[in-house]
Every structure is written in C-alpha cells, then in structure tokens.
Symmetry: C2
Subunit: 104 residues, 2 copies
Amino acid sequence: MAEFQQVTVAKKANIYFDGKVTSRKLTFADGSVKTLGIMLPGEYQFGTDAPELMQIQAGALDVLLPGSDQWLTVTAGEQFAVPGNSRFSLKVHSVTDYCCSYLK
Amino acid sequence: MAEFQQVTVAKKANIYFDGKVTSRKLTFADGSVKTLGIMLPGEYQFGTDAPELMQIQAGALDVLLPGSDQWLTVTAGEQFAVPGNSRFSLKVHSVTDYCCSYLK
C-alpha cells in the first residue's frame, strides 16, 4: 500500500537536531498514531515513551537498541522495534525516509 | 486549523537536494493536492507546473519570483504565490516548515 487513507495530518512538522530529523504526525480513525519522517546522515539518540516500530522506506542506518552492544544495519524495506521508555542510538548513513508506528 | 482531516498521504517522501528539501504529498477528498515540506538553510531553484501557493509555517526565506529582480523576505505566517510553468529561487535562512497548495 503506497499511501495512508482517511488520516488526520498535523500541519506543523516535528523538527529535531536543527532540522536534520523531521517528521509529520498522522492520526488514524482508530486513534493510532504514526509519523512519517526524514533523517539526514548523522548520529542521533532518541527516547521512547510507547514502544515503537520503525519501518525504513528508503536509506540505510545502523541502530543500537537498548540493552544491546551490537549495532544492527537496517536498510530500505526492513524494520526494527524499540521497547517503550527506553533510549536508542542511530548512525544514519544516507537520507532515510521512515515510518514510525507508536504501539500500545 | 492545526491539522488536515480525512486526507490521503503518500507513504514515500519527495526528496530533493540531497534531503535538504523534503515533502509529503496530501490528497484531499475533492482531489486537490498539497505538500507539507521542510527546507534546510540553503539556496534552491524550483520549477512549477500548476500555480502554487507557498505558506510558511515556521522559518524564514527570501524568494525571487519569476519576472522580478527584487528578493522578497517571507517568514512564518506569511505566504507567496508562484505562477504555473515558471521558475523561482529561494534563499532559505532557517529551517523552514511549509505547506504548498497546487492550484488549478
């Protein structure tokens, strides 16, 4: 499916790291939330509240998940899950287009 | 209005200038199209097909509209219109969050 239908989109972007990471919030009819975002090459640390599923649509990165000392390479078409209330680190190698689902 | 409701959002981003300009395509029930985008500081040239209305939600830029030799400064809350089938230049001074409406 190349698009999300019948969603509500916040007009204002989420802007992090001086614009190197930005995203748009989508709210679905069932109340669930996703963000569609872009990450430029660089190293970043994020924190989660709810558990998150990160689907990489384009680009490539390495992720260090909480509790791990192994960086995992994730590329277009692949995904990784992050537990809630935790921190994870990213090394973004090329412009990355992602979809983040906030799980319950 | 802080959000767009009942829209279709293309999953994949539009990515230009090595990710320094990116946007998401929104299609409305009436078939009209807008993009919500981010521009990082830099100088860019764009071409239009349909006429466009650019609303600046955050940030600041100067625009050189087709047929003009005067750069106009446009900041958050302001907008500018570009005729169809023309080119315009931008000098983006700070991370800019915009909404582009494609007019008929």
